[in-house]
């Protein structure tokens, strides 16, 4: 297999989304994971995502063939040796990410762009795991990557200008609008959206309005595409809670205290779309079910 210019490490949801976006732009990309099986499962996930998009008229079957032909699954991390751009998409665990960057540092090309795709972790801290902290940068893509036109480009304390310019080049290749973020907990998007979601949960818990009415109010009143409670369900309530806790720990401001209803739901395993139940109910494909409880004004106090 020919070595590609871009390599992605981690074939989970974000890795898949990025590989699909890169291949759609016309570039070849290698998608790696710990085993070939995992990497191939990632490619199957991409194929399914493209199928959904064909169904929505956004792509054609010939696009599908062309896009999939540009994605090369692999379990061989050493392919990153020749790559110009290495994008890390493994789970949000600082220790694992540090280990990975230490390894990448040992064999990647000196001028390679090393990108971490994190929503919360400190770029500067990751960068210190390497001998080239100036070459490390964060790019926070939002899920689903192919649909959300934004990326936050996050500079660590030592990230240099050239590295930043290369990251901008990658954003432009993917046709994304980008904003510059000087590393700080939660960056811009997470920092602002998470308290909003938390406040919606308080409003529900306090019995002010039903979940459906809260979401409709924010959609119709402020032009949100998705209401805050449905959005929390999509992100995963456990993920939202970990972001809150992370912000609370970093910034020590009580406004980041997770809503008790959120804690209760996470403990009960109601994690949102992925568990079939959060503030609303979902089938196994993630489609929202007609949800009578939301309409009748049942409040969060009765949820569990």
């Amino acid at each position: 297999m020919a070595t590609t210019r871009i390599i992605i490490i981690g074939a989970g949801v974000m890795g898949q989304g990025l590989a699909e976006a890169i291949a759609t732009s016309g570039e070849e990309v290698t998608l790696t994971d710990k085993t070939t099986k995992l990497a191939e499962r990632g490619v199957r996930g991409i194929a399914e995502s493209i199928e959904r998009e064909i169904h929505k008229w956004g792509l054609t079957p010939s696009d599908k063939r062309a896009i999939l032909a540009r994605i090369h699954p692999s379990a061989d991390l050493s392919q990153a040796e020749e790559a110009e751009i290495v994008i890390e998409c493994i789970p949000e665990d600082l220790e694992k990410k540090r280990d990975l960057f230490e390894r990448l540092d040992s064999f990647c090309r000196e001028e390679a762009l090393l990108v971490t795709n994190t929503g919360t972790l400190s770029i500067s801290e990751l960068a210190e795991a390497t001998h080239r902290p100036s070459k490390i940068i964060g790019m926070h893509f939002l899920n689903p990557v192919t649909k959300i036109p934004l990326v936050e480009i996050v500079k660590g304390l030592k990230t240099d200008e050239e590295t930043f310019r290369k990251a901008v080049g990658l954003a432009e290749l993917l046709n994304k609008e980008w904003i510059t973020v000087n590393e700080y907990p939660g960056y811009v998007t997470t920092r602002i959206i998470v308290p909003l979601l938390n406040e919606a949960m308080h409003v529900l818990m306090e019995g002010v309005a039903s979940a459906d009415d809260i979401d409709r109010a924010m959609k119709l009143g402020f032009g949100f595409n998705v209401g805050p409670l449905a959005l929390a369900d999509m992100m995963g309530l456990d993920v939202v809670m970990s972001w809150m806790e992370n912000l609370l720990a970093e910034l020590s401001d009580h406004k980041y205290n997770p809503c008790p209803l959120l804690r209760k739901m996470v403990r009960a395993g109601h994690l949102g779309v992925k568990s079939g139940r959060g503030f609303f109910h979902y089938d196994k494909d993630g489609n929202r079910l007609k949800d009578e409880s939301a309409k009748t004004g049942e409040t969060g106090n009765k949820v569990s």
Partner: protein, 401 residues
Amino acid sequence: MKILVINCGSSSVKYQLIDADTELALAKGDVARIGMAGAVLTHKPHDRPETKVSGDIFDHIVAIEYVVAILLSENHGVIEDKSEIAAVGHRVVHGGERFTDSVLITPELMGELRTLIELAPLHNPHNIRGINAAQKTLPDVPQVAVFDTAFHHKMPPHAYIYGIPYVLYKRYGIRRYGFHGTSHQYVSERAAKIAGRPLSDLKVITCHLGSGASIAAIDGGVSIDTSMGFTPLEGLLMNTRSGDVDPAIILHIMAREELNLHEANTLLNKHSGLSGISGVSSDMRDIEEAAGEGNVNAKLAIDVYCYRLKKYIASYTAAMGGLDVLVFTAGAGENSAAVRAGTCGNMGWMGLELDPTKNAEASKKERVISSAASKVQVMVIPTNEELVIARDTKRIVQAAG
């Protein structure tokens, strides 16, 4: 005078080297998959067999370097020295209202071309990339831009203004422009030659039926109306494009299926037309085959295709107050007897009648396919857009001295 004609797409470059004095294409070919693995150049000199070269062709500059190299190569080349290329002619899709004729490319002009990207975001950026690449590879050779829209620039306002607030025309240049100009121009000129009358005396309708399709009403050599409008989506049914639809349908579908702009755009440009109706293929040959085997939707797709053509032909005849020559060209126009028969059937009332035998004959040559009694001459004329670009390039370069 040898002229290199270049047509740049997003990941392809098509080229011909044409001797503009003898009008012979010395070589033609294309570079495909630029910037991807497996990029390949296919080259065919006029007097030798085709050859393929693959390599690391990572951008348009490298692609054009490959083209020039193979034109010079010992075994496959057709020239001995780079300096034999007297000029480069570029196809540029959109000239807006600013460019009514082909132009010599200057640095100031490149700026103006870039402002037109807004009007043709899918095509003009690649055309501009091609110009930049050719300037790098052939720095001392004059370059000319030939526009798809230019031939239609004399369309009168009553043909190009849409029924929407006039201020939108002023603000964003939203009007009908028309495309395929070089093809409509070429076949109308050939039609006059075949008819043996000056083009200035003729009322001609030209049907360019490639994967994109358009029809033009050419009165005395001037395009007075054409079916493609602000973009190449309007007008005839095409292979994968819808052509004319009720604009409210788009808003309705977007709401019902919760589509975003990109999805709605792809729906109309890539999932519609012959492909969308037939569900079989986007290629007329496949659809005719399926219809022959009894596929009802394939038959329906052909019927819609021909019916819309027929309506346009009759309305353009009314617009010109008569019709002398009807021309079919490109893909289905040159190759599908069924499309020509389906379109021209039952038009005896306007003095148009095909000769079924002549129509059915498969040929690559220019030919008349109407009956001896038909008042309107119907012709099949293979198009040659590259030759028009070469001729225009020669004219512009000579005028510039």
